[in-house]
């Protein structure tokens, strides 16, 4: 027979790419959704804890010394001091609770004199106490508290400055861009990628195997002289191609939006720290992982009578893959011994972790790739046997 494998792959791809809705939901949408969702979550998280820059803080201040109010004026914020005439302290606190004011600052009378007279070495009474009442459930009030606390810290330091820590303009954090990117990417991406790849493959494999069984179209293929093995391989390869595209779409969406999600400055995290070799290895790991995933999902789907049944039969595998994926977030980096890289799915997760944090060794990646290909071969053989089994195909 001429190249039946190619014929099957071509047909499967024609089926998929001919259906614009399927292309959109399987390939374009995941990447787009992830990008939008992560970007939105990132900016949402940041703004959740940051007040607007030109916000005017409404403050009740009791006994505020002029030296402190001068410092507040000198710092770069807008403050409105609320009128305290005839307002009891209880009412002022209530106003903070009700978010009608951001803060109540209570200084002791003669604060400046007390502070000057106070010597921590010889004092027998507690140091003068400033009370800052704020509302932690209110973003602006929290921001106000942080600003005032640091203003007062500065005030204290200006009176008895013995030494400073990191007060210059220098860059003190000496972590390289590689390190910080590697740390975050190696923690997040292997897990996310596995989940994306799984959901991408899950969207297509049951339809292509159990769906054909359900609709009776697989029997039409099985009465042709084509070898069952070719049909199995053709299905796995074409599903792999589609799964890979779906995975890459999610991957690109993640890479582009992850810096936004983490709220890190763009120069601390940069996908360009990885070399072309790193990306090629990553792509190879992803490719072989997709093949194993598709193979496993195809075998499970072949057992099912309907697409719906396949969906529920896949669930246990999904849980296993998710749990394995989380291992990238636990422990201290990828294991070094190569035999870990023979365990399906775990090898992919740890291989990707190694690539992202620059700690991979060639032999481990090779072990991962080769074992994945062997698993694909085994799964493909099993699938071919199942195609040949009348009990499974026409029950």
């Amino acid at each position: 027979m001429r190249n039946n494998l190619m014929t099957i792959i071509k047909k499967e791809l024609a089926r998929f790419f001919g259906d614009k809705r399927m292309v959109f939901t399987t390939i374009l949408m995941p990447g787009l959704l992830i990008y939008i969702m992560y970007s939105f979550m990132g900016s949402g998280l940041t703004s959740r804890f940051e007040a607007e820059e030109d916000y005017t803080y409404r403050i009740y201040a009791e006994n505020m010394p002029s030296s402190v109010s001068a410092m507040i004026k000198g710092s770069d914020i807008n403050v409105e001091y609320l009128d305290r005439d005839g307002v009891s302290e209880e009412d002022m606190k209530q106003a903070v609770t009700d978010k009608d004011a951001e803060m109540l600052m209570v200084f002791p009378e003669n604060f400046e004199a007390d502070v000057l007279a106070y010597d921590s070495m010889t004092a027998t009474t507690p140091a003068p106490q400033v009370a800052l009442y704020y509302n932690s459930a209110d973003t602006e009030s929290t921001a106000c508290y942080q600003i005032m606390a640091s203003v007062l810290d500065g005030y204290e330091a200006s009176m008895a400055n013995k030494f400073d820590v990191n007060s210059g303009d220098e860059e003190y954090d000496l972590a390289s861009k590689e390190d910080s990117t590697g740390q975050i990417f190696s923690m997040m991406l292997p897990m996310l990628l596995m989940i994306f790849l799984f959901s991408g493959c899950m969207a297509i494999a049951p339809e292509s195997i159990a769906g054909e069984k359900e609709r009776g179209t697989i029997a039409t293929l099985l009465v042709t002289p084509m070898k069952r093995g070719q049909l199995a391989m053709g299905k796995i390869i074409s599903l792999g191609i589609i799964g890979l595209l779906s995975g890459i779409s999610s991957f690109v969406g993640t890479m582009l939006s992850l810096p936004k999600l983490m709220g890190t400055e763009s120069n601390a995290m940069d996908a360009s720290v990885y070399s072309v070799t790193d990306y090629i290895l990553l792509l190879l790991v992803i490719l072989t992982t997709v093949l194993v995933l598709v193979g496993a999902l195809a075998v499970i789907s072949a057992f099912a009578k309907t697409v719906k049944e396949a969906g529920s039969m896949i669930m246990p595998l999904m849980v296993v893959v998710m749990v394995i994926s989380i291992t990238s977030m636990l422990g201290s980096g990828a294991p070094k011994e190569f035999y870990w890289y023979l365990i399906p799915f775990y090898n992919s997760v740890q291989g990707m972790t190694g690539i992202f944090d620059f700690s991979y060794s060639g032999i481990n990646i090779v072990a991962c790739l080769v074992s994945n290909l062997i698993y694909t071969g085994i799964l493909s053989t099993v699938l071919a046997k199942m195609f040949g089994s009348e009990k499974i195909m026409y029950s």
Binding site: R2, A14, D19, T217, A219, P225, K227, E390
Partner: protein
């Protein structure tokens, strides 16, 4: 006469699931679908398998088409054994049954080319054959319409045409006119006679007497998985109408028709 299909002692037993046992109110775990079935058909003949529903006709044809394997026995089709060389058999036969569906997403044109590729038909031969068959069945104007958007009759015609992409010597046809309107049914029976004229060997299963009388040279009556009688149509009829003969035979074997 050259033997083209020799079926010898085919047996097939199905295991009943508990659910099926409940539905059929039986405690049997096994159901004998086909028992020690043998027959021979000759090149250029139309052979008819006649029998009531559940007699084992479809199971027999599925075994001959290598979709399922016999428990024991064998059949040799044009020199290839269904047990030892199922792939060879698949290349030699055209099998058509309502269970074999076409993917609704594709057009007849695409599917014809796809299956031609799987059967290894050369493109030039394929295009000539496609044009002839599409014209013959009035598919040409629907060649680019998705199968799912077609009428049942048109779908059936497309299935028929596609089962013949490789111009097989042996055509196995399960219930060829089931579910078809009278016009389409006539198109199909006329076509079977044409194929016979071309020298093809055809085996059909049916429970329709008139169809057998119209197209078959040789007929085998199957009841409860066993071949009761197998001979030329005239010999089976024995001077009566096929319908009368069938009920006679049925009564002799099973007793009064239930």
């Amino acid at each position: 006469m050259e033997e083209i299909m020799k079926v010898k002692g085919l047996n097939k037993t199905f295991t009943l699931s508990q659910k099926q046992q409940k539905i059929e109110k039986t405690n049997e775990k096994k159901r004998i679908a086909v028992h020690d079935l043998s027959f021979t058909s000759y090149r250029g003949e139309v052979f008819g398998l006649l029998g009531p529903n559940g007699a084992g006709k479809t199971t027999t044809l599925r075994m001959l088409a290598t979709l399922i394997k016999p428990d024991s026995g064998d059949a040799v089709l044009d020199g290839s054994s269904i047990v030892n060389a199922p792939e060879e058999v698949r290349g030699k036969i055209g099998f058509l049954t309502s269970e074999l569906k076409l993917e609704g997403f594709f057009t007849p044109n695409y599917l014809y080319n796809f299956f031609s590729d799987l059967y290894g038909v050369e493109p030039a031969v394929r295009d000539e054959r496609k044009k002839r068959l599409f014209d013959r069945f009035g598919i040409t104007q629907f060649a680019e319409v998705k199968v799912k958007d077609m009428s049942t009759g048109m779908k059936q015609k497309v299935s028929l045409v596609i089962s013949l992409v490789h111009d097989p010597e042996i055509i196995i046809f399960d219930e060829p006119t089931n579910g078809l309107d009278v016009l389409t049914a006539k198109v199909v029976t006329d076509f079977l006679l044409e194929l016979k004229k071309e020298g093809k060997s055809i085996i059909v299963s049916t429970h329709i007497f008139s169809l057998i009388e119209k197209i078959c040279d040789r007929v085998g009556i199957i009841i409860k998985g066993e071949m009761i009688i197998c001979d030329t149509l005239e010999a089976v009829k024995n001077g009566k109408s096929l319908e009368d003969r069938f009920f006679e035979i049925y009564e002799e074997t099973v007793g009064e028709a239930e």
